[in-house]
Structures are given as structure tokens and as C-alpha cells.
């Protein structure tokens, strides 16, 4: 027995959690099961209102598809068409060409992918430290993290623009990747999740076995954090894909992300309304596909990360 294994766990200060807490399945936190609140069954009025809300949510997207599948004269008809027309793929192809969406899609994939990966990695590291490690200044630093959510990054665009051109990243993808490599929301989200899902005993057992912190992170924290990391990845991906203000300033039309390329559609380069809608549809499709497949998990993740109370 060496001294270091004695000084690490402090059993007096941290009473062992009851066994059921340790064994609780991790995935449950992300499920959509309703909470313990008093719940009434929804009546017909509630269903009617919900259906109206759902229609309001989905109709603009449906209509995008209708317009994208029509030709220009059909779109500008009164009354407007409510059923899809026959020109969908033709229009999608033309919009792809006119707005240079191929390049934009590749760029957006790279930007959103890199940002989401790094956000997940750094948020998990920091979230683990804030949730399970004790260190001086922890609460102050956590408050700082939350405080940074109140500082809109948009306000720094002027010097940021200068910085990027000094670094030689003018109109280059790193200019939009680097400023968003981390996210305060992500850190907070992982802290909440790991605080609940990672038993203290596991971390302490790792310490007793002589594992160093990075090793504990790799072999103990990561497996537990995986479901939350997947959700955070998707949420960050959506945000990064849709980010507009800074990419619009930092990039130009020769090397755009999807939302930047879409402004070209409205700015008179393409006058054909059905083509504009085809472009809008194309730019949204990747995320819509993600929502169809993982919508449940994304919803669960957003609710999980919410400040409750």
C-alpha cells in the first residue's frame, strides 16, 4: 500500500452512493419518459391545438417542397398550389449548379463536423472536471463558463475579421472553425449529464488502481458519456451548420458554407422562385434527414441540457 492511494479517496467526506444508483442504466437520462409531475390525459382540445402547432411547424417545409417541385409559373399562380409538382429533381439539379451548392455542402460538412467533434471532446473533458474532480476555483470557473453564454460572439467580428486576415485565413474555412471550437452550453450539458450518470465510485476505483486522470477519462468517463456525447454532437452539428452571421462575414461566395450560399439565391443571381425554393430545400435536407432518424435523441438531449427550475 503506498501513501498516494491512501490520500486520494476521502470516504468520510463522500459517503458511498446506494447501490441502485451505481447500477442505474445510463441511457435512461436521455429517454423521453415523462417526469413525476401530475399528468392529465390530453383531451380533444389539447390534441386539436397540438395538431395546429404541428401543422404550423411543418407547413413551411412542406410548402418549400411543393414550390421546389413546381415551375415558376405554377408557384406564382393564385390560388397557390398545395400539391407537389413534377419538376423536383430537375429543379434540385439546377439549384445545385446555380448556387454552387456542391462546394457549399462539402464546406459545411467539414466545418460542422470539425466543430462538433472538438466541442464534444472539450466539453466532455471540462464537463468531467466540473462534475467529478475537486479543484480550487471550480465553482468560480463554472460560473465563468455560464457567464460566457451571455457574451454574444457576434460583437467581436471586427477584430476577428482583422485577426483572420493577419493569420492568412481570409475567406478560408479555419476562420469559421476556430472561433467555435468550444461551447459553454456543451460544457454545462456534459457536466449535468456526468454528474448524474457517472458514479463517484468508478472514478475512485480508477484512482485506487493507479490510473492517471487522462486514463480515467479514456477508460471510465468516455464509455459512460457516450450517449450524451452523441446527442451533443448532433446538437452542435445543427448549430454549426446553421451558423450565419460570422460565416457570412468571413467567407465569400467562392468558398461559402450552405447558409452563406443560400443568400446568393435571394440576392438576384437566381430569379426563378422555384429554383430558390429548391436551393432552400437542398440546404435543409441533411439536417432534416438527421431529424427524421435521430429526432427523438435530439429532443431528449435538448431537454436534458435545459436549466430546470
Amino acid at each position: 500500500m503506498t501513501t498516494d492511494s491512501l490520500q486520494v479517496p476521502a470516504p468520510e467526506r463522500r459517503p458511498a452512493a446506494p447501490a441502485d444508483r451505481v447500477r442505474r442504466p445510463v441511457r435512461r437520462r436521455l429517454s423521453l419518459r415523462p417526469g413525476a409531475g401530475r399528468q392529465h390525459h390530453a383531451g380533444p382540445v389539447a390534441y386539436a391545438l397540438l395538431i395546429i402547432a404541428t401543422l404550423a411547424s411543418l407547413f413551411p417545409l412542406y410548402w418549400t417542397m411543393v414550390a421546389a417541385s413546381s415551375d415558376n409559373s405554377r408557384v406564382s399562380r393564385t390560388p397557390p398550389p398545395f400539391l407537389p409538382g413534377p419538376h423536383l429533381f430537375e429543379n434540385l439539379g439546377k439549384a445545385w449548379q446555380d448556387a454552387a451548392l456542391g462546394k457549399a455542402m462539402t464546406n459545411s460538412l467539414i466545418v460542422a463536423g470539425v466543430i462538433a467533434l472538438s466541442t464534444v471532446l472539450f466539453a466532455t473533458l471540462a464537463g468531467f472536471a466540473f462534475a467529478k474532480l475537486r479543484f480550487r476555483g471550480r465553482n468560480v470557473l463554472l460560473m465563468l463558463v455560464i457567464g460566457t453564454m451571455m457574451v454574444p460572439p457576434q460583437l467581436g467580428v471586427v477584430p476577428l475579421f482583422m485577426m483572420m486576415s493577419d493569420l492568412g485565413w481570409g475567406q478560408q474555412l479555419p476562420a469559421v472553425i476556430f472561433p467555435t471550437l468550444v461551447s459553454a452550453v456543451g460544457v454545462f450539458f456534459m457536466r449535468q449529464y456526468l454528474g448524474e450518470a457517472l458514479p463517484d465510485e468508478l472514478v475512485e476505483a480508477g484512482r485506487v488502481d493507479g490510473a492517471h486522470s487522462l486514463r480515467i477519462f479514456w477508460s471510465i468517463v468516455l464509455p459512460v458519456a457516450r450517449p450524451a456525447m452523441a446527442v451533443l454532437f448532433m446538437i452542435t452539428f445543427v448549430h454549426a451548420w446553421n451558423d450565419f452571421f460570422w460565416p457570412f462575414i468571413a467567407l465569400d461566395m467562392t468558398n461559402p458554407t450552405v447558409p452563406v450560399a443560400l443568400t446568393q439565391l435571394s440576392a438576384g443571381y437566381v430569379r426563378d422562385q422555384s429554383l430558390i425554393m429548391a436551393g432552400a430545400l437542398l440546404g435543409t435536407l441533411p439536417l432534416l434527414a438527421m431529424f427524421v432518424v435521430f429526432g427523438r435523441q435530439i429532443v431528449g438531449g435538448i431537454m436534458q441540457g435545459a436549466v430546470k427550475g
Binding site: T2, D4, L32, G35, G37, R38, H41, A42, A46, Y47, L50, A53, T54, L58, P60, L61, W63, P79, L125, I146, T148, M149, V151, Q154, L155, G156, V157, V158, P159, M162, F178, P179, T180, L181, V182, Q192, H212, V238, F244, F245, P259, T263, A267, I276, M277, A280, G283, T284, L287, L288, M290, F291, G295, I298, V299, I302, M303, A306, K308, G309
Partner: protein, 321 residues
Amino acid sequence: MALQTFRRSTFWHRLDVRGAPYAFVAPFFVVFAAFSFYPLLYTAWISLHRVELSSMDLMEWVGFDNYVALWEDERFWNALANTFTLGVVSTVPQLLMALGLAHLLHYRLRGSVFFRVAALTPYATSVGAAALVFTMLFERDFGMINWLLELVGLSPVNWENDKWAAQLAISAIVIWRWTGYNALLYLAAMQAVPGERYEAAALDGASRWQQFRMVTIPGIRSTVVFTIVLSTIGATQLFGEPLIFGQGPNGITGGADNQYQTLGLLLYEEGWKNYQMGRAATIAWAMFLLLVLIFVVQRVVRRLTARPAGARRVLSRSGQS
């Protein structure tokens, strides 16, 4: 010898236990400092200079000239007023509707997952795509909204040219994109309200509406504050929606008469259309001061109206995991 390796391992172990937490949180702070905090401070410095986009290395000190010019510039006051009205019109109905939607979603429902995902779908749509679609829906001659208005016997509206109509249309884009997201935040908070509180209220004879007002709303107070804060920040930064709604050149100036130009658009116009980076920085810093002002006012109002033990803060809740 054995003692030495033993000591060394203790040293490394201590360093690990003490240092690793800081190493783990460091990436966040380094990136934030480099790409958010430093630019924010540097913005203040640039705002005291004359800097042009074409020659950004040449900074000519002008003191507070940019601020004086901004104060006397009626486009600034116009943009400030527009940002304020657009902020109110897009935020207030959005959060109220989100509250209602969350209440509906909190019922025991068939297909609750479907309703939740559907409510969140607009959030997956980028500003670009959403604004393009709504611009078409609000089109003057063949847009669906005007067609509906005529159908019920009202006269069509020139959504782009009329100031208030344009602001309403732009707010509609914001409301559409964010209502479902906020509803889910409220729903999560509602689910965390202990069931006993409702039982106690029911025992006291409270109706459902009274329960909603007396139990649900106080129970999700921190979440409401949180969404108000985030929506307010978002509203002061409004940029993409009016830009695209204006379709190109008209977008940056916020319409032919600046009728929906926001501070964000004015910042962009000064910096990247008029090439005056110093002035753009002045506007950015003015936006920041505006945010600070809003929160000071909000704090004071809350302190004046708060009941003694009423105000629980976001942080004190998040402290308990």
C-alpha cells in the same frame, strides 16, 4: 533508489490530481479568451480609431469621434428602435406560445415523441432557408399570406415596403424557428416540478388554471429567466432574417427606407459596405453596452418587484446536480 522512484511517483500523482482538472477545463477558456473575449475588448480599442477595410493595419486615433458621429447619426437611432421593436415583437409572443405549447406537450399524450420532434423541426432549418421560404410566403403579388388575406376579404399587404408589416413578417421567421425549442426547455422544467406541489394545490381546491399559475409558473421560473436572457441576446443580434428578407442589396440597408434595419445590419453596412471598420466596431460596442444596460435595468426592476424569498437564481439551481 526505491525510495526515489516512490517519491517521484507521488510527485507525478499529485501533479496529476491537482493539475489535471485545470488542464481539462483549459481548452474551453483558451479558445473563449482568444476568439471571443479578446476580440470583444479589442473592439473597444478599434472603436477609438479610424480604420478602413482596405487598409486594416493603418489605425488612426480619433478618440471618441466615432461615438459622437454615431450619436448624431439618425440611422443609428432608427436601427436601435427597429432592433427594439423587432425584439419585442419576436420574443414576447414566441415565449408565450412556447409556454402554451410546453403545457400541451406536458399532457399524457399519444404520439408525444412525434409532437415534440415536429415542434423542434423548424430549429433544424437554417436562417437562410427559413428566411427564403417566409419571404415567398409574404410575397406581395402571389404570396400565400396575401392570398389568405384576400380569401377572408381583407386587402393584401405590401409586406416588404410597409415598416410594421415588414417587422411583423421578420418576427414571424424568428418565432417560427425558436418557439418549439423554447417549448422543449419549458417542458423539461415542468417535468422537474415535484408532483406533490400539484397535489397540495389540488387539495386546496385550486383549478387547473390556478395550478398552472401558482405551481407551474413559479416552478419553472429559472428556466423562464434563462430563456428570456437568451432570447433578448438573440434579438439584439438579429441579422440573417432581415438581410435575406430584403432580398439582396435592399437587405443590408434593411429595406429602401431602412424600415427594418437592425443594429447588426448597420454594423455590417458600416464595416463591409462602407469599409469603415472603426465605425463598425463602435456599433458593436454600443450593442454590448446596450445589452449591459438591459440587464442592469432588468436587475433593478427585479430587485424592486421581487418578493423576499422569491427569486431563485439559475446558478443556485444548477449547483445541485
